[in-house]
Assembly symmetry: C2
Homo-oligomer: 387 residues x 2
Amino acid sequence: MREVAIVGTGITKFGELWDKSFRSIGIEAGIKAIEDAGMSGSEVDGIFIGNMSSRFINQQHIDALIADYSGMATRNVPAVRTEAGGASGGVAFRQGVMAIASGMHDVVLVGGAEKMTDLDDAGTALIMDSTADAEWEGSMGLTLTSLYAMIARRMIFEGKVTREEIASIAVNAHVNGARNSNAQFKNVIALETVLRSGPVADPLNVFDCAPYSDGAAAVVLVPLEQAKKMGVEYVKVSAVTQASDTLALFQREDITTFKATTVAAKEAYKIAGIEAKDINVAEVHDDYTVAGLMALQDLGLFKSGEAGKAVLEGQVGIDSKMALNPSGGLKARGYPVGASGVAQIVEITEQLRNKADNRQVANAKYGLAQSVGGTGSAVTISILEAI
Amino acid sequence: MREVAIVGTGITKFGELWDKSFRSIGIEAGIKAIEDAGMSGSEVDGIFIGNMSSRFINQQHIDALIADYSGMATRNVPAVRTEAGGASGGVAFRQGVMAIASGMHDVVLVGGAEKMTDLDDAGTALIMDSTADAEWEGSMGLTLTSLYAMIARRMIFEGKVTREEIASIAVNAHVNGARNSNAQFKNVIALETVLRSGPVADPLNVFDCAPYSDGAAAVVLVPLEQAKKMGVEYVKVSAVTQASDTLALFQREDITTFKATTVAAKEAYKIAGIEAKDINVAEVHDDYTVAGLMALQDLGLFKSGEAGKAVLEGQVGIDSKMALNPSGGLKARGYPVGASGVAQIVEITEQLRNKADNRQVANAKYGLAQSVGGTGSAVTISILEAI
């Protein structure tokens, strides 16, 4: 099995990009990644795209769309679209790594893209394209937000977190987003702002929820041995794992933890030959604040019941031993669903290459990205290593 | 790169399965494949699912759905959904092969499933989830059927086929479908039936178009070296390739050939170390009759301009040197979109294992499957070899 390296990254601004089309943002991210790798598009021999819903743009066959508008269809480069709800981008990255590892591809472009704000009502589209269980949850009126609200309520009930600790995830996100020129939200917010914002599904308020966003991200993968010869800054993909869980939340024994995260993380640490304490920077899937807290515990970065206090006390900031979501996370950078898993990889790569501008985490050796679909029904964990 | 073998197949009946749900047919095919391999579900360590549209069942995150309802989510087995229009199943198969080849998985279940007939209007769903170019084709009122009608008209204009030759693809399909107990249509039809059926998009009539269908198919993959020790009948995956082309038809230099097919086929023959003339049985993507004829020429199975005559004269029947779509093809077996590419692999495997009942092709050594998305915007070619 060939080892894999990331040699280039590209990302668009995240936000309400009304002057750009889905295809234009997809291509923008891809071209930036290829240029960053010092390569030409003619060297790419495989494309993997994470994209969640065709309902936002009335277009399926995103694989062909991206191959076409990137100009790569003229060379008939194969393209693959993966969909796994919020983990669509994480799964695309894992498939891209697999493609290099298998020897079936030598230069792979992994992209993630979503355009959510051209629609009158992205919320209805998300409900119709349910990433919860349509038969057992959606049909009862349950949305992802209400499911995460149940998780939050249960975590508070069991004493694992407090309402303030949950809200502190958003505060950390906005502090970091304010340093990220590509972020959707660049305003620092107070804890009170989260706690007093309008309720969405009690106990979660507006500021506990990641926004609807447009955006795209991309990375270029090559075999590690090839990266060493290219004369570019690269990072090693030390592990990329994936795990599943039941689609419906009510089927779980415990809704205060995502088993798919714990299983995939355990396997990833083993493959990378490290422990959770070795992680210096993590991008976790905070589509809801409570999910960000849960991730810190499920990943073993904090003991169960201790993550909330740490975040509330500011122990996961950019200058910390373990920096959380320096990009601003889904909450502040924005959450174009299919782009998100790849955007995390972009951020971790920039951090490990010391190219993260004024949000640079010092001396980061190992970075982790966690991408989540539904209520933890699919989770990918990627561990990247600075060389 | 590890070589890959197919050790089990499973398929449901194709048709209007109003008494079964999407999840139940998906699981039925998977269980049959695992049982056929003489294995237990607990041995599977990866799932790849081809599925086209969430609009038919208002459900995304099909990866998690299948992992869940197969019981494999209890072991957190990773699942991946691919979407590439009509090639969704072919792409899932290629990703499954890649997973084994990479060493990241040892026992992979590849499935394809679609449930199209629970909806009042599958046609509208297909238009909204366009696999043509939504901006440049769909917005102008072009559907896949009208695009294939343009292809047919151009092929007739250039003298590459006649209307009767195009229609003969449906006749061959129905002859074979009548021998397939799982087929949606089991009635032998006359050429006149096709020619006199109601027009859909001139020159294509109702009998030139594959039906809306429900159905699922699955195969189990293991490393070739492992298959040899299992004591089951298996076939070798000699090659699996994929190529892309422009999403919109008007961008092509020539619409009487799918370049993605010719490029992927050429590469597949090279990898398998054979020539087109070595193929004994082929399952090609005849979503429209004209596409079936075009495939025969693009795959090099017949010279350009000669395929139509051969089909019309009955030279591709089950008893022929090169048997075409012994399953009945998309036209007669049925066309549940995402299932189709995997169903082709099931049929070729059965043919090469001499388990195809009364539609068995004699002494087949090499079989080929061609899965197509959109108007040839993505094509996968798989070559399987009898052992």
